[in-house]
Amino acid sequence: MFSPWTIIAVIVAYVAGLFLIAQWAERAEIGKRASKLSGVYALGLAVYCTTWTYYGSVGKAATGGMGFLPVYLGPTLALLLGWTIFRRIVQIKHSHRITSIADFISGRYGKSQAVAAMVTFIMLIGIIPYVALQLKAVTDTFTQITAGSGSTSLSGWSSPIIATLMTVFTIAFGIRHLDATERHPGMVVVLATESIFKLLAFLAAGIFIVGSAFGGLGGFVEHFTASPPNLPLLKAGDTNQVLTWITVTLLSMSAFCFLPRQFHVGVVENDNPDHVRKSAWLTPLYLLVINIFVVPIAVGGSLLAAPGTTGDQYVLAIPIQSGQSLLSLGVFVGGFSAAIGMIMIETMTMATMISNHLVMPALEAFPPLSFLRRKMLYVRWVAAAVFIFAGYAFEVGLGGSHMLVAIGLISFAAAFIVAPVVLIGLYWREASRVGALLGLSGGFIVWGYTLFMPSLVRSGWLPKAILEQGPWGVAWLRPEALFGLAGLPSLTHGVIYSVFTTLTGLLVGSVLFPSGKEERALTDEFLDESGDFSYLDSKNRTIDANERREATLQVLRAYFAEEEAARICRQSFADVSITDQARLTVVEFAELHNTIERYLSGAIGSASAHGAMRSWGSIDRQDSRSLAREYGKMLAKLKLSPKEIKDRIDFQAERETLLNEQFKELQQKVDERDAEIVERRKAEVALQEAHDELESRVEQRTSELNQRNHDMRLVFDTVDQGFITIDVHGGIGSERSRVIEEWFGIKPGHTDRTLQTVLRTFDDHVGDLLELGLEQIRDAYLPLSLCLSQLPKAFEFEQKHYELTYHPVTRSDGKLQHILVVATDVTARVESARGEERQKEVVSLFEHFMRDRPGVLRFFADGDRLVENIAAWSDDSDPVVVKRDIHTLKGNAAIMGVTSVARRAHELEEAAAERSGIPSAAVLHLKNEWQGLRARIDEIIQTDNAGIHLEEADYLEILHALERNVPRDELREMIARWRLEPTRRSLGRLAAQATRLADRMGKGDVNVHIEDNNVRLHDEEWGDFWSILVHAVRNIVDHGLEDPEERVRVAKPEAGTIRLRTEETEDALRIELSDDGRGIAWDKLKARAEEHGLPHQTIEDLREIIFHDGISTRDAVTTISGRGVGMSAIRAETQRRGGKVSVFSETGVGTTLAFEFPKASARGSETAA
């Protein structure tokens, strides 16, 4: 079907794939983990299923019915019955580094090389035919699948080629390292893979064949029921077949456990003893599944196969016959898998056993070959090759003579020889090496005689007479009827004899030649795999503790007082943890000895202590041996030789030395750190002292500062000035002098009040000014000095006058921190100045009185009225009227030189201009000032208008009239006119005011021309009008007249001219005030009108605006004018009298203010005739 080279290529590819899997399992972490899975372990045990299973079972079923089945029931029973035994073997392997079944049995029997060699030899002889079986199966199937391809290039070479490939694969997979105890995770995974592959391939073949023959398992059952084949072991009948059945079952139980490959996979490759638990059911399940189609295939094959096809060939032959090339190839590779798995493991194991137990003793026995000890890996390779080619040779020589299954059972029987030796050895400690040797050798000889030799006879290598008549014709020596035991199946017969011989040899040999002490010790060590330190068990406590305690006290008393000796004794027993024990183990005894000696050494030196302890006692010979044995056990547990443990102790000693040195270095560093800590502590103490000293100094300085502060405060409190600091919000700081607290009513200590709040209690206006000023400082738009200059500088309260100055206190960075406010009580100075001022006012008024008595009297009369009006101000009052009154009073007072009243009026005017209402405090001040003036003047002159002022001209006129003897009525009329005041006098007062104002304002000389035309007006009737004209005069001087320099510049006389004129016509009274100044700035007036939303289109509109309240052409208000109040008051007074006022102005030429009153309204006016 396929060419030989194709099949070889497939084989190589398949093995290469397995090799990659092996590499993955050994190198990849996940592969390593996979190799440790219990499932992989269980599948690895399926290496039990060789080509014998794959092909031979069907062959056996085809001729022997169910006779193939015990081969697989046996492992099931073995695992069911003895999985715990199997696991115990695994545990022993973990403890003793077991490498093979031979090594295991040798280890049990005193590590006997002879026993190991015997087991190796038995297995070698028994297994080689088994390997031959595998090679034969592969060769036969190779021939089968390449048949018909027409190629003969490999004819006759297929077997050696396959054997060579097997050798190479085995070395590559399993013998790459020398340490046979090393696990081969790659190989285990490969075995599991092979097991899966051969199972799938066999099931595929089974399904195909059963399907082809019966249409399924149901069809097979029907066929099997209807036409049962006439084969043995399918129903009750032949006793011999039953015996063979049981025999094969027992052999299979043994083979599953003790065949070298099974032992290797199950024990040596075992990673975890607990895996045995899972494999106890999983491996039998595998065996069940792979055998489920054996009988159907055998029955179906007999129906389908071509004539001449044997049962062994059904599995592969039928797919080939059916032309199923892929299935055929798969079945072939499955069979190859079964073969290579078995050969690989078996060869690897046998190579190890051969090299270790046959070659190595030979090398030791023949020193010239000792160089090979260092070449043991190559020795194993050679052993593997020899083993496989021995199988090949066996196949070539004997393979054609037997059914495959026969060869397998012979091998099973060989393995069965070792089973009693292993099992009895595990549980009977008296079993000895000699017994094992006798049993193994006897069993092997009998096996060879009763089982192996018959197969040689049947292969034609020996004469048949041996079987029929016995050697040399001795019938009772017939191999299959030894000692006359005939009638049994040959296998059962051979097994019975070989096992009997083995048991007998083992028992008799062990009884006659029991184990020596060394062998017994090794046996005990071998079987005590639990890992417990039994020498510490209570059952091994044989030394009397009380006796040791007495001996200890006796020794110690020689060197210590009674109490001290008792204490050391107690401490020694406590150190060894044996205080409450009645008996001690040898180890505890030795430990106690050393402890006591250490205590003694501390007191009397080690040499003396050692001498003293001789009298303490020592362990007897038996205890000494026990101790040696425990020591040996410990070494065995540690897997160390005495030399190795010495090396390790030396290593530990060296390590301890290094650790000591390291400890010393660390200690030195610790000392350095300690010294550093001491230095640091000293530094800390010094630092603390310095700190304390510093604190002391600070305290001293603080005390000094406090004292200085106190002294400074005393100084501050002593002077007449008060000091207070405020922040930019007016918050009052704690730094303030006591006098401030007295003046301002501030309680000592902390206060939340601001200075503006405090000042408002004295004067709202002052408080508001401070608030506004601080706001400007906070805004920082203006220079600080300018802001400070705008803060209120004085205030008056309850006859006290205080002056305030402000000093910025800045930080180092120049930023304002506080404002130092210095308050000075200037009451005395103010009073003094006012006294002086009042004197001047009195003098001034007196001069006026002497010069113009009616004017002074009118001043007082008007003043009384105006002050009364101002004081009567209320919210219902017209503020414009009140402001006019204030303005009028200010002007009149200024004309009379009464500066105190004029100042108060100005202050009131200022306050009224800055707020909606008129501050009552300022009103009160004005009223007080006026009343004070009135009182002072009343003491000197009579200010009531009781008399008549007679001018000299009037006096001369009346004299002249008398001389002319004018009529009485005319005289009376002349005298009556004396009660009218000449306008000349009122105009003169205005002129005087104009002159004074011009002088005060730096306007230079002013020429005032008066033209009264002898007009007289009633003083009381026109007093208010003349008073109101003060505003007009002030406007003329302040607004109209230029400075002398300006006048010169515009080509005007340096001295300005003012004309004051009264004229009385038949129906009207005219009063005119004119100047030659700069005239009205109509453009500016127009702009102001526009700002106030007033009509300003015509000249009449602008003239009207002049008299509008609050409109002025001046940019700034002065004490003289600029508020836009005066002209409004003038027109109001004029209109009240029924007159009208007109303005005529020409820019650069001058302005005229003209009043015209109807005659009738000018009551009391008279014209001097």
Partner: protein, 71 residues
């Protein structure tokens, strides 16, 4: 139901093993029909595997602990 510790008893294992050895041999002493033999053998094999599964559940943990006292 057997307690887990009881499943660890070697006596149980031996008894079960003997019982199944007898069962595996029984068809050749009793059955006349091959199909019965075939079915019985595979059936009892399955039961044996099930028993193995149950018995192995009676042991767990480190092997050194479970095997103490088996000698």
């Amino acid at each position: 139901m057997l307690h887990r510790s009881a499943l660890r008893s070697p006596i149980i294992h031996v008894l079960v093993g003997i019982v199944f050895l007898a069962l595996f041999t029984w068809p050749f002493l009793a059955f006349e029909q091959p199909i019965n033999t075939w079915v019985f053998l595979y059936g009892s094999w399955m039961v044996a595997i099930a028993c193995a599964f149950v018995l192995t559940q009676g042991s767990g943990g480190p092997a050194s602990e479970t095997d103490e006292g088996e000698e």
